[in-house]
Each structure stands twice: as C-alpha cells, then as structure tokens.
C-alpha cells in the first residue's frame, strides 16, 4: 500500500476564510459513496442528484515506492484522481438542507481524498459489486479505522450471482451493527433507501469525531 505523504500547509492559509451571514442558506450535509471500479458509484450519485454527476479532478501526492530518502526528503509523485460530485436539496426537511454526494473509487491511493471527504460527513456508503468483492476491503477498513459510520450496499447486477447480505457480511468480516442492504443503483428510491439506512445508522452510532488512522496524514487540512 503506498503510504500517503503529508502535504505541509501553507502558513499563509492559517486563518479561516471570513464568512458572511446569509440567513436563508440551507445547511450542507455530505455523504461519501465509495466502491470499486465499476461498482455503480456514478450511477448511484446520479440516481438522486439534481445535477448530472460531475467528474472532478484533484492532484494527490504520494511517496514513490522503492526510492531511497534523500536528506530526509522522500521522493514524491503527483497523480491525478477523479471523483464524482452530485447534490440535492431537501427544502421540505424541518430545516432546509442541501446534501452533497461524493463518489470515490476504492483504491489505496484515494485515502488522502477520503480524509477530506470524511471530515464532518454524515457517513459513507460502500457500494459492492459481488463479482469483485475484494475491491471493497480497502474502503471498509478505512471507514472502520477512522470511526465514520458506514453501510454496505450490495449492488445487484444482472447475471451476477446474488449473494445474501449475510454472506457479504461474513466475507467482509463486518460487525453486526453495520447495516448490509441490497440495492439497484439505477433506482432513485433504492438509493434514497440506502441513504436513509445510513442516516439511521449514524443516529445510533456514538458521536465521535473522525479520527486519523495511523500512517496517514491529512492534506490541506
């Protein structure tokens, strides 16, 4: 696993950006949707988003593996990663809300991005394609390690062998409290049901802040 390296903050960025009162602005909440290649992340975001999911790019800096440190400065390598963004407004909620959805791939090299997205988030959905169950291990252990509430949603692809949620739970060694649900990522009510399940789970989870896992650092904190 390539370990993410720290990105020193710009000291000039030490002060929080001043903000202006804006009484009718809805409160923003966010949910992370993670999953392996082709698991249906973009489809799920698009099913409930009011905008067509946007693909957004960010640079990530990671240590090059197998390169000796030179004067304590590790050789770094910058790669571009892409993630999805969608949003929906919930004006009929008791307080006006806007929900941001971030869809992110499940590989190790996205860990820095997951930290950014997890801070202050409601929780995460790990979308699973049972034909490639092994791609779910990394996001599952990441959200477990940082203590962010998450649910596992098994996406039912046509022709894929249908695993029972309990089989998926056993394969991923999930604790009993983590909900495992099935969904069709193309169906808005299904995806909304997964989000509701996550919110219900987050309401039951102890309100601990997101903790950095060992060996990982925040970027642009």
């Amino acid at each position: 696993m390539p370990s993410p390296t720290s990105r020193p903050d710009d000291p000039a960025a030490a002060l929080r950006t001043p903000s202006r009162p804006h009484s009718d602005a809805p409160t923003v909440l966010k949910i992370v949707i993670a999953g392996g290649f082709g698991a249906g992340k973009t489809t799920a975001v698009g099913a409930v988003s009011e905008i067509t999911p946007l693909s957004t790019e960010e640079y990530l800096t990671e240590a090059s593996t197998g390169v000796d440190s030179l004067e304590g400065v590790e050789a770094k390598q910058t790669t571009t990663v892409a993630f999805d963004f969608g949003r929906l407004s919930l004006p009929d909620a008791p307080v006006p809300l806007e929900l941001f959805l971030f869809g992110t791939p499940g590989q190790d090299r996205f860990v820095d991005l997951w930290y950014d997205l997890s801070r202050g988030a409601v929780g995460a959905v790990v979308l699973i394609d049972t034909r490639r169950l092994e791609t779910s291990f990394t996001p599952v252990s990441f959200f477990e390690d940082i203590g962010l509430p998450f649910v596992v949603a098994v996406n039912h692809f046509d022709g894929a062998h249908r695993y029972q949620p309990e089989q998926v739970r056993a394969a991923l060694e999930l604790p009993a409290c983590v909900p495992v649900v099935t969904c069709d990522a193309r169906n808005p009510s299904d995806v909304a049901g997964v989000l509701l399940t996550l919110v219900g789970h987050a309401e039951n989870a102890p309100a601990t802040p997101v903790h950095p896992a060992p060996n990982a650092t925040l970027q642009d904190a």
Partner: protein
Amino acid sequence: MSARGDAAEDSTFVRTYTLTRGRTRPRHLLGLDTVLDAGPGRPGPGQAEECEEILALCREHRRSVTELAGRLGRPVTAVKILVSDLLDADALVVPVTAPYAASGTDADARPSLQMLAALSAGLKRKWPDAIAYLQAG
C-alpha cells in the same frame, strides 16, 4: 503504483500552473465541500478567464469548490487558488449556514442528531417509497 507522468499529464500541469500563475497553494483554507456565493466585490484586473466563469456560476446558485472544479474541468487545487483571489477581492463570499457539526467550533465533529433527524425526514418526504433497513442494535 507506476508513474503516470505521460505527456498528457505533463501538459495538464503546465496548463494548471499557467492558470494559477505558478502558484501551487491556495491562500484560504477551503474544503472540497466549502460553498461559495457571489459577493459585492469585483475581481482585480488581469484575472484568469476562469474567474469570470466561477463568478457567473456562483451568481446563479451557490456552488461548492468541488462543483466549480468539475464544471470548469480544472483540478480542485487550481480552482481553490482562483477562489482565494476572488475571496480576497470580495467577489466571492462563504455564506454562513447553520453549523452541521454538534459543536460549532469543531470542524471535525459529525452532524448533530437534530440534523440527522432532519435529513431523514427530508429524504422520506422526497422519496416516500424509500425504505430504510433498520439494523437491530
């Protein structure tokens, strides 16, 4: 992870550095989910064309940093640098919203139970057919 420093990626870097005039770090602390609204100020002279695009988008609707980057087709870091310029010029502002965190001072805190309940109610109203699977315990 093998190096992907191919020509396409190199040219992306060149375009990005041109856009930000060589700067690699934003002056303001902006999250991927920081929301921006159009402000009363005007951007200074000599700003990148993309600054006008950002302002036009934010006049229509409040936009997150991620949404702006996605719509401009530029990396998030580059957009944060431009947004910082616009914040300094008061052309953009960060609207204050009710804090989602349990404690307003702790940016890492999770949303309050009250916010979670509101989110649940809002989702149910929008998708009456949606079913939450409640786990025992």
